[in-house]
């Protein structure tokens, strides 16, 4: 299923104010960061997603054309077009909605954590310290999208680093920006083809590998890989049964024939 809505993150426009992170905590009622933590873990290279941090802003410093530069990258669930987590979930707790978000239904979840293993970007986090743990990640504010509003993070961005809209139009917009400044941007829209396409798209002026993105992500949707094998399941199931049945029948017949032979074999005169 391909989704309608998506978001485009322009890495070059982010100033690292972390409004998106605060908006996410406010709107989703996430456990407020501890006082100490909220002062000591602003944008940095190694701040990771967590149960109470569905989106983070990572900071990366490096050299470009002999000049020290710094870039901020907002990270959250990519909301894949064909999500591996939903494919791995036998309880249908992870589902891709028609509007775009990959939403987790905690009432269906059995806590097997297959989705966490399936996710190519390791965005799913487990409530290890809870008696009834959930698997948490960015939900892309499905209620707000339903009401025609932007997700919380996109609505507060002061610089326009996050653009929310129909994914098709965002792809066009991204291509337009790349075409306008071909020497500035890296000619790549991250999320256009990665793992079969994602609802969140990124463009940047530095290679994505240096920003901590997976560069080895295949272009094929991950569920397709399993489908290549799993599509043989009915055939194998029926075929293997047929083979075994055939073998059984054959052996039975042979054994019967053999028994008969033995029975009617001439008895040694001695």
């Amino acid at each position: 299923m391909t989704s309608k809505m998506g978001a485009l993150v322009d890495v070059t426009r982010c100033i690292g104010c972390e409004s998106c992170k605060v908006a996410c905590s406010l709107y989703n009622g996430l456990k407020p960061e501890q006082m100490q933590e909220s002062k000591t873990t602003p944008a940095s290279e190694n701040v990771e997603l967590a149960v109470s941090r569905w989106t983070v802003v990572q900071s990366h410093k490096f050299e470009k054309n002999g000049e020290q530069i710094r870039r901020f990258v907002k990270r959250q669930c990519f909301h894949c077009q064909e999500p591996a987590c939903a494919s791995a979930c036998f309880a249908k707790a992870m589902q891709k909605t028609p509007a775009g978000p990959v939403v987790y239904n905690e009432n269906l979840c059995v806590g097997c954590r297959y989705c966490m293993i399936a996710c190519p970007f390791e965005v799913l986090k487990f409530e290890w310290d809870k008696p009834f743990p959930r698997v948490l990640k960015c939900q892309m504010c499905p209620d707000r999208i339903e009401e025609g509003q932007m997700p919380a993070c996109a609505s507060v961005c002061p610089t326009g680093a996050i653009t929310f809209g129909e994914r098709e139009k965002l792809v066009e917009e991204a291509k337009k920006r790349l075409a306008e400044k071909p020497n500035f941007y890296v000619n790549h829209i991250y999320g256009l083809k990665e793992v079969g396409g994602t609802s969140w798209l990124y463009i940047s002026d530095v290679p994505f590998g240096e920003l901590g993105f997976r560069t080895d992500a295949p272009e094929k949707a991950l569920p397709e890989y399993t489908w290549e094998v799993l599509k043989w399941t009915p055939a194998i199931f029926v075929g293997w049964g047929a083979i075994l049945t055939g073998l059984y029948l054959y052996n039975k017949r042979r054994a019967a024939a053999h028994d008969e032979e033995e029975m009617y074999a001439p008895v040694d005169p001695d």
Partner: protein
């Protein structure tokens, strides 16, 4: 059943039948639960049970109202933020953009640092105190506990009209004496006054101005004041081509720091290495300034720690000192004398007024007329103020005063295009000057002109009541020149009291007009 051999009664519950019943009920319950869950008509997803300010709850993408907040880096020496308190009201961004014209005046992407002039006005506008000054009180408490350290403190002109507000006194209450007493009770070994170096700044800056006007130094006019560290960083970022106009004088705080570890240490016979120099400032940018690489001319770090007015109030409260019942005490000698010219450094236009008084004397050798003691055109809260005063010998001295960097831009653009008729321009980063600095008590949030006016009135009242109102009358400054520096802009003065600032243009791509 009494007959054990015949087995248990069919009606009683045996262990076997109980277990069978329990397991089947468990199965039934599990099945029911699973089916009920599968038939979930209202899937419950996590999140979405919180809240966002109303300005963000609108369909569509049109950015109708202010959004987000200012970026503050983890290693910002002046201010920090607490994500837990932030409600994304956007007031910090409004302040940064409209009053200081910093945010929105550089193009994206950023280069390698978060653009900040450390003025702290965002911390004054923040309704939840999510943005606050970086707290250095622990370091100062530690220094005070160390018996081997000689901890001296200087207090800025503007803190004495605002500190009382932290203790329930009316805005603008004059608490100079109580402040000195409180600092003594906190354990500072010497309580000295930044007003002393404010007078010194006037002598140095006035001399420099006269040299520029007379052409003795080949530097352009108008000369810019260099007392406000936020303004200096602003100029380095956005108007690096005008840095030659900047007075080479350090700010009064840094002059004080350089002299404390040389002149004062020598006069008192103290090892400068054992001196911890603390300053009480109305300003968060001073925390940045004291860490600048240019500010180590005494051979040590000139000023070790800067505390804002709010932090001092916190220290006083922590030590349970009853501030309002303290007696009025006097500053310690050698670097503790003040004149009216120094007191009004805390007000917008004050530096200019004090400089005009001194310039008249330095040029003519005569006492300035009464006009110079009440230079009303440069007083008040207008964004840009101009004045022209006649000084025999050089003609008309044209000056301008501006506060808030958005107003500063107007003046700077005029200077850049060569349309500036002025000889001397005063820049203050904060609206109203230091009395409304980013480290002052948050008596009104956002800060109001009513409170600014009360603090200003208090400063001018003190100026009018002082016996000495002109910087050159400061006897301790005269003694400093006699015993140590010889004369204004001497070689030693140049080394200790003057510096040079460098462009930061490579840290951002400036925009002349605000990005929409």
């Amino acid at each position: 059943m009494k007959d054990g051999a015949s087995g248990p009664d069919n009606n009683s519950v045996t262990r076997r039948s109980f277990l069978k019943m329990a397991s089947s009920m468990g199965l039934l319950a599990g099945l029911t639960g699973a089916l009920a869950g599968c038939d979930d008509k209202n899937p419950k997803h996590p999140g979405g049970n919180g809240w966002l300010p109303n300005q963000y709850n609108a369909a569509g993408n049109f950015p109708a109202q202010v959004r987000g907040r200012v970026p503050i880096d983890l290693d910002n020496p002046s201010i920090m933020r607490d994500n837990q308190k932030c409600v994304l009201c956007g007031q910090c961004l409004e302040t940064c953009e409209n009053i200081e014209s910093v945010y929105g005046y550089y193009s994206l992407p950023i280069v390698d640092e978060t653009i900040c002039i450390h003025c702290g006005q965002c911390s004054m506008a923040c309704p939840t105190e999510a943005i606050s000054e970086r707290d250095d009180t622990d370091k100062v408490f530690k220094a005070l506990d160390d018996q081997n350290k000689f901890v001296l403190v200087q207090t800025a002109p503007a803190t004495r009209v605002a500190l009382g507000e932290e203790f329930g006194l009316p805005p603008g209450a004059w608490v100079q004496g109580q402040q000195v007493a409180a600092l003594r009770r906190l354990g500072f070994d010497a309580v000295l006054d930044t007003n002393f170096t404010a007078d010194l700044t006037i002598m140095e800056e006035g001399t420099e101005l006269i040299k520029r006007i007379k052409g003795e130094v080949k530097m352009p006019l108008p000369q810019f004041t260099s007392c406000s560290p936020g303004w200096i960083k602003f100029c380095e970022y956005f108007y690096p081509d005008l840095l030659p106009n900047m007075s080479s004088c350090k700010s009064p705080q840094q002059m004080f720091g350089a002299l404390a570890k040389t002149y004062y240490a020598k006069a008192r016979g103290i090892d400068p290495a054992s001196i911890v120099s603390v300053s009480i400032m109305p300003c968060t940018a001073k925390k940045f300034e004291c860490n600048r690489p240019e500010m180590n001319d005494s051979g040590y770090k000139d000023v070790d720690y800067v505390l804002t007015t709010r932090e001092l109030a916190r220290m006083i409260k922590k030590n349970k000192i009853d501030f309002t019942s303290l007696p009025e005490e006097k500053y310690d000698p050698i670097m503790g004398e003040e004149t009216g010219g120094a007191v009004i450094f805390g007000a917008t236009g004050g530096v200019m007024e004090a400089a005009a008084r001194a310039a008249y004397f330095l040029i003519t050798g005569q006492e300035p007329p009464a006009l110079f003691l009440n230079l009303t055109p440069v007083r008040g809260l207008d964004g840009v103020k101009e004045a022209a005063v006649d000084i025999p010998g050089v003609g008309t001295l044209r000056v301008a005063v501006c506060h808030g960097m958005a107003n500063g831009r107007k003046v700077l653009d005029a200077v850049r295009t060569g349309k500036a008729p002025w000889h001397f321009v005063e820049f203050m980063t904060c609206p109203g000057g230091c009395i409304a600095g980013g480290g002052q008590p948050r008596t009104a949030v956002p800060p109001t002109d009513a409170i600014r006016e009360q603090r200003l009135a208090s400063l001018y009242k003190a100026d009018a009541s002082l016996p000495k109102r002109k910087s050159y009358e400061n006897a301790e400054v005269a003694a400093l020149y006699q015993n140590f520096l010889e004369h204004p802009m001497s070689e030693l003065a140049e080394e200790l009291l003057h510096t040079e600032y460098h462009s930061r243009a490579n840290k951002l791509h400036p925009l002349l007009f605000k990005a929409v």
